[in-house]
Amino acid sequence: MPTPAPLIELKSIEKIFLTDELETHALAKVSFEIRPGDYVAISGPSGCGKSTLLAILGLLDSPTGGRYELRGESVGRLGYAQRARVRNREIGFIFQSFNLIGDLTVWENVALPLTYRGLDFAERHERVDEALAKVGMTARAKHYPQQLSGGQQQRVAVARALGGRPSILLADEPTGNLDSKNGDAVMGLLCELHADGATICLVTHDPNYARDAQRTIHMLDGQIITGV
């Protein structure tokens, strides 16, 4: 069976932050690939550059140097609007603090990326219902986030990420704000999604959860030490 083409390919990615006269190298010559169906974990101590790498992977930020290709297209130098469009279609985020919008219901939160994509109501409805069903939150569709437990909120966040049918799910410490029971449940959900074919990139400092991934990239001081 031929090896599928890389979904994501990073080549010598650098990220330098300039503050006053201080130059901080957050990422230095980071290169690796993620192929469709991969489950990659990025781990390392605090301040090692995990989140910066995730921000660049998720097109939330641009690299200072190097090349970033998504589905073979260079996306590292895209303009603001193009990045937003690609982000909306190709990437699903799962954040540590869930990042649900308190003024919106569960259903509206899940529908949010689809609204920005301009899908009509019927299609949005179908996709949101499907995503909520997948995470077992259909019954809570009309609730507000503050009416849910942390674990439930994170499941909704997963549903929001899935609703857009993205190429890759980027999970940033998804268990960081959960107790172990809920954390395990969420990680179990990610495993199920991966088993169904989802491509997942997980940032975590918990080696137990990192072990769920097929591959773990270890980082230190903005560089990849092992796992490429």
Partner: protein
């Protein structure tokens, strides 16, 4: 106390280190306090300052009239006599008559106005003379045919100061006044501040000014023979403890008994009214709505500062939580939180007091004739006290909520997420939004009010009154020489011959001055019972050329001629064979009312003036708005001045260019005919027209100013709320961006939120403005209180400007870094 002083010290330190916040908050408060204090000063000076009489609340105006006749606010002298003799509710009751004369001087006589009073008048008002004495009670007040003592006069303080330079030896000096041959002896000078009492029936007199200081008092004797006919204005002083309604009931009984005894048909209406209320009718009508408007502005300012303080207080939650964690009780937290608002109020009060002084000066400058007795208005201690009272009220209003929130600080939660991020939640945002909505509501009310008045003034300004007001000079002229008619003829000749003068005419009843006679007319051959014959007609007397000067066109017939005069002046009321014809010109309205479509030229009318002398209609003139710009023309009749002269009247001079350049030449020409002639009230007809709408213009200017300030404050408030909302939703916006929102989506999100806020405020504001519309109804012309054009244009304009103010925080929101979404709270 020491702890509170320490809180004040810390608050002062904090305010000094936040100069932007401090300046905006203090300036906003100062503006609100300054405007409110200034309006309070005006209201206090005009409406709340009583006449300088002891116990002024016990002085009431009395009137009586027949039940079936128009109520004029006066009373027959006979009724006063009955009340004077029989009423027990009063310490004293006195009649008075407004009068005017001229202080005869060789270099031009001077207009003076005063009161003719009975000898019990001064005892009633309870004011002692500054110099000399008042009229001796020994003169009696009625039923005397003696005229001894009636050659005395008491001077008002202002006249004494201005004309007699405050001469301390004025007592005993003789002065000459018009229409009285004998010199009058000055027996007293009254203290300052004594103004006229209400005398509504004199409103038609050319120089009547109820708000002016009284120049003189003369004793009047009520003769027995005239008791039945004369009318008078009456005041009474209630006995202590007697109410106005008790007194009114007693007076009604007395008046009714006398009416029945004399066989008067129908009942008698009796009314007692507070002197203050009657004097302040006009002022109250204008000032109370404006005070209401400025109160709205004060609330807007408070709302604005409350928003600022609330936002600041919310950001200080962590600080309060720390204090709480360190053991501060609720009272201590409240003290710490209220210290800043109190200091801001102190700064606002100080600056606001200074502003109030400046604003009062501006109000005096722009009010024109709109507000009576404005010279009484000063910014004294009561106003300064009011300013600081308002400042502390503002502190409580604006600072209480943040302070109360501080009291409820939860050290655990506040020190965690909320305290760390310094942002605010949905509930707080709603609170701030509600404050902004209230500001918008109040601003829209003010803007709609200002818009309606602006429309009114514009409508009045472009209204054609039916006559020309351009390049016309008017002067009030009263000759002192014996050859009365000769003076007028020579004066017209001299003035007409002046270079630059196109026309000159004398007129009694110049438009917009309120000056006119009124009376009933009957048409020869028609029944008196015909409804039109019961319509009051405005009467004016003019010399030939008046219509030309005012470019009024005769629809039919002819103008007056110099030959339209009397051959026999001594017997002008009763015609004799061969007399010159008494002629008159009527306006279109009167012609239509009395003669329908039939020609009226040559028809005979009878006036109340000369009921036995037939007046022949010789012409019909176009209608004009002569009483007020806002009023429709009513029936009017013009007499020829050479047949119906008046003691004091206006000279109208039509010039080719600016008529003010002619003032000196015209005055010189008049003095050359009669050196003692009184020439005063010099104005252009344009000025008179402008003065006639002074109340509307003043209200419009003030309300427009209030509305503009309110709008700026409200815009700052909306900007602040949206800015704070954007700041506190920074993370939410980042999340939206992270999941794919474009910048335009974020812009739309913030502007939609702003529009919701603005639309809510504008909608409620329109509803409130509609509900309050009747307050302004009396000042409107050509626009209704619910004028859709004004309401829509004001609302749309405000929405557009408000959205523009919101655009800046919205644009800032689009620059949110989506990476923020990755950061933990």
């Amino acid at each position: 106390m020491a702890a509170f002083l320490n809180d004040l010290r810390i608050a002062l330190h904090a305010l000094i280190h936040k100069p932007g916040f401090t300046c905006v908050a203090a300036a906003t408060l100062a503006l609100g306090i300054g405007l409110t204090s200034a309006m309070f000063a005006v209201v206090e000076g005009v409406l709340l300052t009583p006449p300088p009489y002891p116990s002024p609340e016990r002085v009431v105006c009395l009137s009586a009239g027949k039940e079936d006749q128009p109520y004029e606010g006066r009373c027959p002298v006979k009724t006063w006599v009955a009340w004077h003799d029989e009423a027990h509710c009063f310490e004293s009751i006195a009649p008075y008559w407004w009068s005017f004369e001229y202080l005869i001087r060789e270099d031009g006589s001077q207009f003076i106005q005063g009161l003719d009073v009975t000898t019990n008048y001064f005892g009633l008002i309870g004011v002692k003379p500054l110099l000399g004495q008042t009229f001796s009670p020994s003169l009696g007040i009625m039923r005397s045919d003696s005229i001894a003592g009636f050659s005395e006069i008491i001077l008002g303080y202002d006249l004494w100061q201005k004309t007699f330079k405050g001469d301390p030896h004025i007592i005993g000096q003789a002065i000459h006044i018009s229409r009285i041959d004998e010199p009058l002896t000055v027996i007293g000078v009254m203290p300052p501040g004594l103004r006229f009492l209400p005398a509504d029936n004199n409103n038609n007199e050319p120089n009547f000014d109820v708000n002016a200081p009284v120049d003189y008092w003369r004793p009047v004797m009520v003769r027995e023979s005239k008791l039945k006919y004369e009318q008078c204005d009456v005041i009474g002083r209630l006995r202590p403890g007697v109410t106005s309604s008790q007194a009114q009931a007693e007076l009604a009984v007395i008046a009714g008994r006398h009416a029945r005894a004399e066989g008067v048909s129908g009942g008698v209406k009796v009314k007692t009214g507070s002197l203050m209320t009657l004097l302040n009718r006009e002022g109250r009508r204008l000032l109370l709505p404006l005070l209401g408007a400025v109160a709205l502005l004060f609330l807007i300012a408070c709302g604005n500062v409350a928003g600022l303080l609330l936002a600041r207080g919310l950001r200080q939650q962590r600080e309060y939580a720390v204090r709480c964690a360190l053991g501060a009780g609720r009272a201590q937290l409240f003290s710490a939180a209220i210290a800043e608002p109190l200091l801001l109020a102190l700064f606002g009060g100080l600056i606001g007091s200074g502003l109030a002084v400046a604003i009062v000066k501006i109000i005096k400058m722009i009010s024109g004739f709109a507000i009576p007795r404005l010279d009484m208005v000063t910014v004294g201690w009561p106003v300064i006290g009011a300013a600081f009272g308002l400042a502390f009220l503002a502190a409580i209003l604006a600072g209480a909520l943040p302070a109360l929130r501080a009291c409820q600080s939860d050290p655990a939660s506040a020190m965690s997420s909320g305290g760390r991020s310094g942002s605010i939640g949905r509930a707080q945002r709603r609170l701030l939004a509600a404050a902004a909505v209230v500001q918008i509501v109040l601003t829209v009310v003010l803007l709609i009010g200002a818009g309606l008045l602006l429309g009114t003034v514009a409508n009045l300004a472009r209204l054609n009154p039916g006559f020309n007001t351009k390049n016309i000079l008017t002067l009030s002229v009263t000759p002192m020489e014996d050859d009365f008619m000769g003076f007028h003829k020579r004066a017209l000749e001299r003035v007409s011959a002046l270079p630059g003068v196109e026309k000159a005419a004398f007129a009694w009843g110049v438009p917009f001055t309120g000056n006119k006679w009124t009376g009933l007319f009957t048409v020869e051959g028609q029944s008196d019972d015909k409804p039109a014959n019961k319509t009051i007609v405005s009467e004016r007397a003019i010399t030939p050329g008046y219509f030309d000067a005012l470019k009024m066109h005769l629809v039919i017939g002819r103008d007056f001629r110099a030959s339209d005069t009397w051959d026999n002046w001594a017997n002008k009321a009763i015609p004799a064979p061969g007399d010159t014809q008494f002629v008159g010109i009527i306006n279109q309205t009167m012609a239509r009312q009395r003669f329908g479509n039939a020609s009226c030229i040559g028809k005979i009318l009878y006036t109340q003036f000369f009921p036995k002398r037939p007046m022949k209609v010789i012409g019909v003139v176009e209608d004009m708005r002569s009483d007020s710009l806002a009023g429709n023309p009513g029936p009017e009749a013009y007499f020829c001045y050479w047949q119906v002269p008046a003691f004091t009247k206006h000279l109208l001079v039509k010039s080719a260019s600016d008529p003010r350049a002619l003032v000196a030449a015209v005055q010189h020409a008049l003095h050359s005919v009669d050196p003692r002639v009184a020439v005063d009230h010099v104005k252009t007809l344009d000025q008179i027209r402008a003065d006639s709408i002074a109340a509307q213009v003043f209200a419009m200017r003030l309300l427009a100013g209030f509305a503009a300030i309110g709008a700026v404050l409200a815009l700052v408030g909306i900007y602040g709320v949206i800015s704070l909302s954007v700041n506190s939703r920074n993370r939410e916006i980042a999340i939206r961006m992270a999941v794919g929102a474009q910048r335009r989506d974020v812009l739309t999100l913030v502007l939609a939120e702003s529009l919701k806020l603005i639309a809510t405020g504008v909608t409620v504001g329109i509803a409130v403005a509609l509900a309050l519309g009747r307050v302004l109804r009396a000042y409107l012309f050509g626009v209704g209180p619910a004028d859709p054009l004004t309401i829509i244009s004001v609302s749309v304009l405000f929405v557009v400007i408000a959205l523009f103010a919101c655009y800046f925080p919205a644009r800032r929101a689009t620059r949110t870094d989506p990476v923020t979404a990755l950061r933990c709270e």
